[in-house]
């Protein structure tokens, strides 16, 4: 079971690339490792359910337990994993319920952000937004799911910045991090990218026309549909045979049992 070790080893980044007189070694080891592991979790290199032990982190990155532990604390605080004392951290597995909650919240926040964006946007901002749209469409045409998702995230940050709402950006980023991997997976479903891009076009259209209500509606539809797609994908993934009969209940979310 050192598939994880191999992954971690690959993540190892050389301490410094610019040997010539370059200032700003401002990033400390801890941050580097944290970023690397975070990225690995978010992009799916480290799968949900994986247990991250101190030793693996130490050996994988060549760091001491001090740092490994601090990184684990940070990951846990960001809810990228579930931590239990004396047990350790395991990369978060999302339940349908949780996913639905996240998308519901995202819908509201994105709505807020779009409103703020259109309130504050200059013509240039609108142009930039249109550009983001094109970049997404291009990436989609190239079937580059990663690029699509990354561009979307960047677009979100951009809108939040124009709307001048840092808190929204922070929360949004955190929520996105938690479902990022699922998004990537879901986009493998045939037709999913096309549907998504249709939504993107609608959003950009609303923004370009400066039609706030249209943009908001488009965003809500888009986010909602994305959530649905992810949930659909989760179904197909975890229960290809057994017809699920749960799902309507008060749901103290039962992680879909995965019988070998």
């Amino acid at each position: 079971m050192d598939g994880l070790s191999r992954i971690l080893a690959q993540l190892r980044t050389p301490a410094v690339i610019p040997p010539p007189a370059a200032r700003v070694p401002r990033q400390v080891e801890r941050e580097r490792v944290f970023d690397a592991v975070r990225r690995a979790i978010v992009d799916g290199s480290i799968l949900p359910g994986t247990r991250l032990t101190e030793r693996e982190l130490c050996e994988g990155f060549g760091i001491s337990r001090t740092i490994a532990r601090e990184v684990i604390r940070m990951l846990a605080a960001e809810k990228l994993g579930d931590f239990e004392p004396h047990v350790g951290l395991r990369v978060a597995e999302l339940t349908r319920k949780r996913v639905r909650e996240i998308y519901q919240l995202r819908t509201e926040i994105e709505t807020m952000v779009v409103r703020g964006f259109l309130d504050a946007a200059t013509e240039v901002d609108i142009d930039v937004a249109r550009d983001f749209g094109n970049r997404m469409l291009t990436a989609a045409r190239c079937d580059d799911r990663t690029a699509v998702v990354e561009t979307m995230a960047e677009f979100e940050r951009f809108m939040a910045r124009v709307a001048d709402n840092q808190i929204a950006a922070e929360v949004l980023a955190q929520l996105n991090a938690r479902v990022n991997m699922l998004r990537l997976m879901a986009m493998r479903e045939p037709g999913q990218i096309e549907t998504g891009m249709q939504g993107v076009r609608a959003v950009i259209a609303g923004i370009t026309a400066r039609d706030t209500e249209a943009a908001v509606a488009a965003v809500r539809t888009f986010v909602h549909r994305s959530g649905e797609a992810v949930l659909r994908h989760m179904d197909r993934q975890t229960q290809p045979t057994i017809p699920p009969s749960q799902e309507g209940k008060k749901s103290h979310d039962t992680p879909p049992g995965r019988p070998a």
Copy 2:
């Protein structure tokens, strides 16, 4: 400057209270210290702007640097303080801008939660809500600001639980933690409690009547007014003389300079 040290020392909790055979020593030192410091920050015992050094934490709680550092990582991840490498953690000082953002986001989330609550609430839940309302009003009559705020937080958690939305509860808790102290301060302004309680009555009325739109409207008004109150209080606090002329701008929020 060891006023902080004294505070920290007081926070020190005895390692164990139940000497008889009591299971569940499940809480590790780290969590205890984290909770204590967090509480201290949230309730204002440790004022914003204060620098939390490792040494203070170590001596204040009788712990090793290992734990002190981990606690600091957690506090920073929760945004309860701003951390800079090689500098340390200082308890977050909120700008007007940030506060406005937080309240804006809170408004949306609370709206969502109330909707979810009324969707799922049984008659008993409604009764419990009414009870929460009474508890708040009682606490207000006793002029017990802390109790008011705590009950409100508990009420929020309750609604989120009924609405079965854990993510919302998490985010809400995090946002509240960041402004809790300001809320307490703002409620010292004369008439503030009364205004607040008026809002509470409206919210409870809407809930009791199961009138979703009324409840939502009441919540939005309430949260918005609370935010306004906090902002007003911040004004009065930081710039009692100089007429502020900033405030409308794109605002890369300038923390109101506090000249000695």
